[in-house]
Symmetry: C2
Subunit: 557 residues, 2 copies
């Protein structure tokens, strides 16, 4: 038996998963909640936008979870022993850049910086850099439109340059002390490989892509002239970052002796290139051309791939399109919804003041309702709209309520709203040539809510499947490790064996799809009006059409 380890760094915890390469069986797993901050995140009571993470937690996380996962694997599978581990893959949140010194040590791990939030890892969901993102967007649109063409013409406050520039603006001492900045996804493999020169770190194109405005087309990172328009110090920093970024067919290095001893593994085994959690998650779902992967959690991330031989156009509102970002040899197309599970959680816990057990109860109450029967229509924008409007400053909307509307009907309308948001993404991507024959979902909600899955099938008109693994991100990282270890010649052969889908297939019901298509038209009317797509909306039909659909649904009911 050969095995690999997937190391999955989430927002609140890190997980190790030991996977059998010949079967995809998950042999052992362990997680650690990050010990620092609030639920692992360093926050600031004065500034809700701030979200940082202590890099020391990442290193503790390797040791604790890998050793525990190996122990579990041995305990449950006597045929397994740690020397059978042939590679390690790492996935993380991103963009989560870490300021490091010239020896690749995180500043925050040095006594003089350890209490300074600006010296920590700038977690993906840190939104302190809104004004920097705005200026980068404007500067790029004017001077380098190609830089933002593949990320919906909008650069985000969640990304690499916004954060680093904000650090320079608010805490120049940290900026100056940082020799370089390294994405968490690159930093962990580099630590495992014992790479002590930041410039020598093999960086993944997945994180570099639109997040650091990297592309081979313009020879890597943004040119110095552009960076100087922001701040000359950013242009200087460019020399201390990287020239080239790599896709996941490459190895990030080999396990160094020190870490091999600590973990009880074989020194020299290869390390996969680090990728975004959802990208390795897409691989853990067996992504291929024609399959859209949706990782449905608090928010949703959508991943599609198109063979790199083909031409792919810029897709408006899609952020982003990066060659090699998900699967080597393919364009990775990424989209997402800013809140999905979070919206249901808000409804059940904040408004209905219940606990998570209410989700299933509300779903049961409206499971037999027909599409349109509630007369309700909602927008899924409680946390903004990532795709296809790329606007974090949008908010939720619910309409059609009468004096009889129930909390369960509203819950269902919110599920439907996220399905309409999903359809808007699917249609936009498909319109621009990304084939979508089936949709494979991962995440707890996809596993638990057959109502949601059926509604998504009915709304999108496409077959929905669910990945077998509950840990698709860690599984995908383990697949990456199996490929760089040479167990499989390519990702296709690896995922064919190591990943699988549950048997259940959610097929679209044609009648339901027809009604949902009428409702989706109304959703698009609201989307275009409130999203500012049109400035001459005629909405006088919306309430009447909802009533008509409601009355028809009740008659046929």
């Amino acid at each position: 038996m050969k095995a690999t380890i997937g190391l999955d760094y989430g927002t609140n915890s890190v997980r190790s998963l030991v996977v059998c390469c010949e079967t995809g069986n998950e042999l052992g797993t362990a997680t650690l909640e990050y010990p620092s901050g609030h639920q692992g995140v360093i926050i600031d009571a004065q500034d809700a936008n701030l979200a940082r993470q202590h890099p020391g937690d990442y290193l503790v996380g390797i040791e604790t979870t890998v050793i525990a996962a190996l122990q579990e694997a041995q305990a449950n599978h006597p045929e397994f022993s740690p020397e059978q581990v042939v590679g390690i893959g790492v996935d993380t949140t991103g963009s989560s850049p870490i300021p490091v010194d010239a020896e690749n040590r995180a500043l925050a791990m040095m006594p003089e910086w350890t209490d300074n939030p600006n010296a920590q890892c700038w977690l993906w969901k840190d939104h302190t850099s809104i004004s920097e993102a705005l200026t980068i967007t404007e500067t790029a649109r004017e001077h380098r439109p190609e830089y933002v063409a593949k990320c919906g013409n909008t650069y985000s406050s969640e990304w690499f340059w916004s954060k680093i520039w904000h650090c320079l603006n608010v805490d120049e001492a940290v900026f100056d002390a940082a020799y370089s900045w390294v994405e968490l996804a690159d930093w962990v493999p580099a630590q495992l490989a014992g790479i002590s020169d930041p410039v020598q770190i093999k960086r993944g194109v997945c994180m570099a892509g639109h997040k650091a405005l990297y592309a081979d087309d313009w020879k890597g990172l943004p040119d110095k002239e552009f960076l100087s328009m922001l701040n000359p110090k950013l242009a200087d920093l460019r020399d201390r970052l990287y020239e080239k970024a790599y896709d996941a067919s490459n190895s990030a290095g080999n396990l160094c002796t020190a870490w091999a001893e600590k973990l009880g593994l074989t020194a020299g085994i290869p390390l996969a290139i680090g990728e975004m959690d959802v990208h390795y998650g897409a691989i853990g779902c067996g992504i291929d051309e024609g399959t859209l992967v949706k990782v449905i959690g608090t928010s949703t991330c959508d991943c599609g791939v198109v063979h790199a031989d083909k031409e792919i156009a810029d897709i408006p509102g899609i952020c982003g399109i990066v060659k090699g970002a998900i699967l080597p040899g393919y364009y990775g197309v990424e989209a997402g919804q800013s809140a999905v599970g979070d919206i249901f959680k808000w409804w059940v816990e904040v408004v209905c003041k219940s606990d998570s057990s209410l989700h299933a109860k509300l779903e049961a109450e409206v499971a037999s309702m027909k599409p349109g029967e509630s007369g309700l229509l909602a927008l899924d924008w409680n946390n903004g709209n990532r795709t296809i409007l790329v606007d974090p400053l949008l908010t939720g909307l619910l309409m059609g309520q009468t004096l009889h509307t129930t909390r369960a009907e509203i819950h269902r309308a919110l599920v439907e709203a996220t399905a309409f948001g999903a359809r808007a993404i699917v249609e936009r991507i498909a319109e621009y040539g990304v084939p979508i024959n089936q949709i494979v979902c991962a995440g707890g909600i996809a596993e638990k809510s057959s109502l949601l899955m059926q509604i998504y099938a009915d709304v999108t008109g496409r077959e929905m499947r669910v990945a077998s693994s509950s840990q698709t991100c860690a599984l995908g990282a383990a697949v990456g490790a199996a490929v760089v270890a040479g167990i499989y010649p390519d990702y296709k052969s690896a995922t064919d064996v190591m990943t699988s889908l549950k048997d259940i297939v959610y097929k679209p019901n044609p009648e339901a799809h027809e009604v949902y298509t009428r409702l989706f038209k109304l959703y698009v009317q609201l989307q275009d009006a409130f999203g500012g797509v049109t400035d001459s909306a005629a909405l006088g039909n919306v309430m009447k059409d909802l009533l008509e659909i409601k009355n028809e649904a009740r008659k046929t009911g």
Copy 2:
């Protein structure tokens, strides 16, 4: 001491109130829940639009409540005795027409018709006549535009001709058996007066006005040619209705001996002309030119008056304007919101699944919030929009919600939505020359919720007062009785003595008014877009403006 009795027929119960004419003191009161149907209303499980009432309940109601109220008055006020009662006034819901035979007996009180819902009183909220109302509207707009000009160009399914015509369409036997049709507000005084010829009943102009399309301008009821366009049998019916309708300076007759004996009152005392409950309610609030009366209950009714010497234009969306309808010598201007208290009740009881005690708790939670601080905006259309859109087929809307929005914030947003709806009415009426210097409210919500009253003051920018009496409708009917009994020469002298306001004055806060004016602009944008007022709405600003107002409110907080 002289006293009068106000008899107030509501939707679910009837109340008698004995009032001292010299002071307005309320000496005794009693109510009866109508014994028939569900909470007094005959309904049909197959047809949610049907709402009827058994006329026998009205007669039982007189006897039971008048006698009990007199007893209470005697018990609590030894100086009072029933022979001091000098008149009776009656207010009722409407349009609530009753089919009667040639002797003014309600068909439903005869054995052959007693179980037929079509032979009952057609309660105001019966909506079975939607298609008839539509045809009447279209026919009038084409052939007699003046008929609907004073009721927002729309004839309602709740009104006289829609209901009678629907009866003819669905149950011709009942129509044929009915010699005439009498509004409840006219039928009760006629019963008390012992009038046995329907054509001799003195009908009130308040009910006749737009509800029966009556106006002196076109010599009474709609002409036969017009009625024939609907159905020749309606033209024939016109001869068996009435030629002239009267305002509340007239008496409807005198108490007949039979009823005098039954009630222990003096035969021959005058009976005031019957009026709509809210119209006598406006009188019970001391209505005068410059004072807008709002009766805030499950829904809201707004009443204003303009001296009949003046010219008054048709007011778009206002339904309706009737000379003498509220106060003799004045145009009565009536408007309303289809749901107010019902919306709060829906939120608290249906969605939050709590009881009425939650209202106060939610209000306390958001009482110190600043206008705009929640970022929410709602439309108050859960039960349609009566004024200013005259469209029962509109529905509710809530927007601006995030993942942190609380149920209390939503509750407050719903209160604010009804305040914006109130402001839309106030502005429309004022724009067309109805002076509004202060707003006087009546009803339980106005008495209980100081938060709501302050929000209404801040939103409308006008002083809000609350009527002293909790029974303004019955009190107003008693005032009417005092006038026809000659205790006072006119309504002004009567209301000066018999009605009063609570001491508290809700004054608009200028800063809050300014913020609410910005929010009201957004409300109007939504109203015009979803109400179909405009077909080229630009709404891209709405979510952004709400966020801006929210951020400003939080900064200054």
